[in-house]
Symmetry: C2
Subunit: 372 residues, 2 copies
């Protein structure tokens, strides 16, 4: 991407501009205001990274409601929104604001997926007599799906960091070390390398346990000839990376080698399917069809990937028949896998960005089968 | 606690027995079944520790709905419930089960705080024509608040682990080291020491940033004479510990020393107030009254503590006027603090268990002011 484009993208996507673009979408929705309750959305729109906050975006102003633990932090972080410190709970403060100004909040957009039944009830009971609640149609998630240049640079940093940490951890992967020790080394490496932490609990699953797609690392020790699945990610500046590699302790059996080759081929097929204009389902189909040609598709028990950004799972999901159309600037994981009970599992996962021509790898770790 | 009592408590509180006790409460509530959607509650009742699961507890049986990623894990972990692997989403599988057996689910208890508006709507739309939804009154959280002997032993282990890690980290706390490096060392120590991870993102906040009660560690380097707040916790076997210490780099100023003494006194006052039969609010009041006697209560901007177990924040909350009555076997944090903008913050936090006579410290790290 040229320097000129970078500058334009950055200017276009500052926090203030995100609010401006959001307001356009809100107007199209016919809503007077948007209640943002999902914390990654709050962070995206106003910069606040605390663990308790509600953002109310109205036509002329935005207000962040948080509590006294975050007084200083909110003052330092928040851009484009007024900060209101709620003494008796953020929900109550919001309810009172809605009631006070009820003429400005006749139609309030919100996300039913990010408000509990209890919170909605509480807001309706005393505050929102006249409010008409309308679904926000994932407005903010849709904005977030396409990353600007600054976001891409940060995610790339996070992807490189976790690639480096993985490569440095390779020398420790040997018979007798426990899954938990390896996970500890990886997460330590992430923090030592400048990440604020892992983007999820690191998965290290060896032997038969590698067939558990989401295994927690345990005290189990690695043994000779086992497959080991390592799934790890880093957070830098709030943005996540997510990468999986499967290695073999000692020489891989012909069967393991065949399975690995098939998964890698499926990953390549999925990557080749990625370009602006195709659907998320097309990409999933490419991976699945590739595995089907090796009669392995029934062992591929999850979707091909997911969006990546302020959350480790975000829009779009690369699942069967998903209709979301890919756009330039989206960041995706591509992670086919096969899981054979009693034998083991193999997953290979990279982060990629959708480019004008196709896709570009953010993950830098080698993806050939490593026999350690 | 004698060996005999230990055995009894363990027998009484196995997963199967937890379900039995839950069914008694359900009957009292007049509900036919309970939908458990909060994952720590799911884990408590049937042992499943995956990240996607819904547990339906009916009179004669319990069913866990999860997805194919967790097929093997569920089979290994789950006790007392039938496992149903949902191919098209757990919500849909649950909806179909409710519809199929609608006569058995006329009154379904659930937690409005742990079901989103969208999920409830989805369950009502196609599945639950005739279902009457009733609030569960935090049935499971109330059971969880009182720990059995096995749970207490595990939390004690987690508290000792984090105390040890903190003590070993002390030698690294010196001018020039960054907050992030210290946080990395602490979390690495937790994993190396047998914890499955930190129970929350470790807080290391130095100098003026120590006045942010919930600061994220940053690249800031520690300087001479600064106060440093370190707030950390470990998870062992799913159970959390949570501990804060505030240290001074070099000799503390008279003001810092006075503030530290006042916070420690408030913590002692709160601990002394703890015994079966008092309310959570009484304990909070004891800490607040103690700080008031030093005219510092207005700098104490959060509650005195919270329950601790499978979650790092659970019932009861030790907040102003909280009416929950303390019972033997509850585990609580006691963590008063003062935060002075431009100067810094001091917080001292221990984990304690409520005993027949009063309370017992689980945290073993020293709590005198350390000048490093």
């Amino acid at each position: 991407m040229s320097a000129r484009q970078t500058t334009n993208t950055e200017t276009r996507n500052g926090p203030l501009d995100r609010l401006a673009r959001l307001r356009v979408s809100l107007a199209e929705l016919g809503a007077d205001a948007l209640l943002v309750s999902h914390l990654p959305n709050v962070r995206y729109l106003c910069g606040f990274s605390g663990s308790a906050g509600l953002l109310l975006v109205a036509e002329s102003k935005a207000t962040l409601f948080t509590d006294s633990r975050y007084t200083f932090q909110a003052r330092e972080e928040v851009v484009g929104a007024e900060v209101r410190i709620a003494k008796k709970g953020v929900l109550r403060a919001l309810r009172e604001a809605l009631r006070r100004d009820r003429r400005r909040f006749r139609r309030l957009a919100y996300s039913a997926s990010h408000v509990t039944v209890a919170d909605k009830h509480s807001l309706e009971a005393n505050g929102g007599g006249g409010i008409r609640w309308v679904q926000d149609g994932n407005l903010v998630e849709k904005l977030r799906a396409v990353k600007d240049a600054r976001e891409l640079a940060t995610i790339r940093q996070a992807a490189i960091l976790v690639s480096d940490v993985f490569c440095r951890t390779l020398r420790l992967i040997r018979p007798g070390v426990s899954e938990l020790e390896l996970a500890a080394e990886i997460e330590y490496g992430i923090k030592r390398g400048g990440g604020s932490g892992p983007s999820f609990e690191t998965i290290v699953a060896s032997g038969e346990r590698s067939a558990w797609a989401h295994a927690r690392p345990g005290s189990k020790l690695l043994s000779k000839s086992e497959l080991v699945v390592l799934d790890q990610g880093a957070i830098i500046g709030g943005y996540c990376s997510d990468m999986t590699r499967t290695v073999c302790l000692g020489r891989a059996s012909p069967r393991a080698r065949d399975l690995y080759g098939a998964v890698l081929k499926a990953q390549q097929a999925a990557k080749q399917a990625i370009r602006p204009g195709v659907t998320a389902g097309d990409v999933d189909h490419a991976a699945r069809a590739s595995l089907k040609s090796s009669k392995l598709d029934r062992y591929f028990t999850h979707s091909t990937g997911h969006g990546l950004g302020l959350e480790v799972h975000e829009m779009p999901r690369l699942g069967k028949a998903e209709q979301t159309v890919l756009r330039e600037g989206m960041v995706l994981t591509v992670e086919p896998g096969v899981y054979l009970e009693g034998f083991g599992g193999i997953r290979i996962e990279d982060d990629v960005v959708v480019t004008a021509q196709g896709s570009d790898d953010l993950t830098t770790a080698p993806r050939d089968l490593l026999e350690l």
